[in-house]
């Protein structure tokens, strides 16, 4: 009897404490509902209305805004621009970061001052994007330092008007995005690599695997979760790119809308003299749908069977290694 009394007391005791689980998570839940979920749902609602800043009344117009978007050449252009700019900055970003991470963790090269290099490479990521955009606008302006240097050093005969050329402007934006993010990606990839146990590499080395085989069969598969994380966070950020393309030129993606991203287009519709709230919201909804679909696809495609069983990996490495030796 005494025993059961203790039990009851104990379970009541636990119950009382665990109530705090709800109390301590409540601020987040309330904050999320009020400041994230409600605005998001409201944006979805606004996207099916014809609301503008000018008049008080508005009507529900169904999917009109969306059908208009798909026949709007600016929207199609912004969609293409956003993907192009993101992809062309992400591929070199992950490539260089991976190369650097391999070098920095290499037992063969024994690079010195790894902490120092990393610290410097990460610096651009912390700086204010507004400042970076205007800085690069000035550096690449017609009479700016880049043109001064190339002309005086005799590399080019005459200055290039970078911000009148679609290609140059896009390239500068892609470069700036790459410049800001490769250091962050490097640090994340290195953290992933150093968390892989050294025993796998030792075992592979004993079995005579070479550096490329070890990278391909041990590092890459075990790094996959980190790579998926990098890919998805970069994608989510890239689809919402705004600060740099907005401030690098005139805020309308000039020249010829070559750096007009989806978010810039959304802002243009919002800030146009009529203030098309409904149309701007529909662009926001499209960004949301595109980003979520793409992220889900990434997870689906990259998370097929996860055969990161190290023993198997090593066995296979060796088998293929032998195979290569024979052939």
């Amino acid at each position: 009897m005494a025993d059961s009394a203790v039990k009851i007391k104990k379970s009541r005791h636990r119950f009382n404490k665990n109530i705090y689980g709800y109390i301590f998570t409540a601020p987040f839940i309330i904050g999320f509902l009020l400041f994230s979920l409600y605005p998001l749902l409201y944006t979805f609602y606004l996207s099916i209305t014809d609301m503008t800043m000018m008049k008080k009344s508005y009507e529900i117009v169904g999917l009109d805004n969306f059908t208009k978007l798909f026949s709007d050449k600016f929207f199609i252009q912004a969609l293409k621009n956003t993907w192009k700019i993101w992809l062309l900055n992400f591929i070199p970003q992950i490539g260089i970061a991976m190369l650097l991470a391999v070098w920095f963790t290499s037992q063969r090269l024994k690079i010195k001052l790894v902490g120092f290099w990393r610290t410097i490479y990460y610096l651009p990521n912390l700086l204010m994007p507004a400042t970076i955009a205007i800085l690069f606008f000035n550096l690449f302006s017609l009479y700016g330092p880049v043109n001064q240097f190339t002309v005086r050093a005799g590399i080019l005969n005459e200055a290039i008007d970078f911000f009148r050329s679609n290609g140059w402007t896009q390239s500068i934006l892609i470069f700036v995005q790459w410049w800001m993010w490769f250091g962050a990606t490097l640090i994340i990839l290195m953290a992933g690599m150093t968390s892989i146990s050294a025993t796998y590499y030792e075992a592979a080395m004993v079995d005579g695997a070479n550096a490329w085989q070890m990278f391909r069969k041990i590092t890459l598969p075990l790094l996959k979760p980190v790579l998926v994380y990098t890919l998805v966070t970069s994608l989510v950020g890239g689809m919402q790119m705004f600060d740099i393309p907005y401030m690098l030129t005139d805020g309308r993606g000039s020249p010829n809308g070559s750096i007009m991203t989806l978010n810039v287009l959304m802002y243009m519709k919002f800030s146009s003299n009529k203030g098309h709230i409904g149309a701007a919201a529909s662009v926001g909804v499209m960004i949301f749908i595109i980003t979520c679909t793409a992220s889900l696809l990434v997870f689906k495609v990259l998370q097929e069977r996860r055969d990161a069983n190290p023993k198997k990996v090593i066995k296979r490495t060796v088998r293929e290694g032998k195979h290569e030796l024979c052939s």
């Binding site: 998570t25 490479y121 651009p124 250091g183 966070t233």
Partner: protein, 279 residues
């Protein structure tokens, strides 16, 4: 060629690439800082990597045209410090609840937060703007600060950190001594997790300090402008040819962050790793 020679050659190649990348990262920033001290005429004459002595003139020119950078610093500081405190406090509270208590939907709730890290949030800005306008909160800092209560990325970081420091025995000991759960959180948990809270705080601060989009949509009164919004005005016609002043304005906007980074770079670099790698 022997293995040792090839290794040496490879090392030379790698170091040259590292130095090239270093120059790419540092040169634009260094030129920005140097040009902030040079006159417009000097800047137009050519590139220099040595500071000049025209900073005071640039400063007079900059502030003389309505660039109230002190106000910008003050506004941005108020917002960024409030966001930092709120984010750190509530994220640790949420992570602590998930880590220490057993309650229904706990797994679901944490999983949901992880999904939220990957959801684009800026796209809801139009709804957020209309909503805040209806509440007459545009040109107020409340809509910039309060949403920091729900910061999924910080919660993820806090959870990772708490897993490495919180000892359940300590909590049980405090309970036996008669501490209430809220006291335990404040008097035991918060002090223990100071290093993690500090790293989280730096990220929250930098993020808030650099944020342009949300204040840009919500704030229209000049005297409420945040620093990035002020910086954006340097693009306009007011400073068209005053390069020295433009560079000075730009330099002032990033110097605080550079100082923070030189002091705390270790925390920051290890913080990024911790936020991303789940072992």
């Amino acid at each position: 060629m022997s293995y040792a020679v090839r290794t040496k050659l490879l090392r030379v190649l790698v170091y040259s690439i590292l130095i090239l990348l270093l120059a790419m990262c540092v040169l634009p920033i260094w030129m920005l800082l140097v040009n902030a001290t040079r006159s417009t005429a000097e800047i137009q004459q050519g590139i220099s990597l040595i500071p000049s002595n025209n900073m005071i003139n640039n400063w007079k020119n900059l502030t003389g045209r309505g660039f109230d950078i002190m106000k910008g610093f003050l506004n941005s500081s108020v917002i960024a410090i409030s966001i930092t405190i709120i984010t750190v406090y509530f994220s640790l509270m949420f992570a602590y609840a998930i880590h220490v208590y057993d309650f229904a939907y706990k797994k679901f709730l944490y999983g949901f937060v992880l999904v939220l890290v990957m959801v684009p949030t800026q796209v809801a800005i139009i709804g957020f703007f209309r909503y805040m306008a209806a509440l007459k909160l545009t040109n107020s800092y409340i809509p910039l600060i309060l949403p920091a209560i729900a910061a999924p990325a910080s919660i993820f970081f806090a959870k990772q950190y708490l897993e490495s420091v919180i000892v359940k025995d300590l909590i049980d000991a405090a309970r036996i001594d008669g501490c209430s759960e809220i006291t335990i959180f404040h008097k035991i948990m918060l002090p223990i997790s100071k290093p993690g809270a500090f790293t989280m705080g730096i990220f929250a601060f930098v993020g808030a300090w650099n944020n342009f989009f949300t204040p840009f949509i919500l704030i229209s009164k000049m005297d409420k402008y945040t620093l990035p919004m002020l910086v954006q005005t340097l693009r306009g016609d007011t400073y068209r040819t005053e390069y020295g002043s433009i560079y000075l304005g730009l330099a002032l906007s990033i110097i605080p962050i550079i100082i923070v980074y030189t002091i705390f770079s270790k925390y920051i670099v290890s913080g990024i790793s911790m936020g991303a790698v789940k072992e």
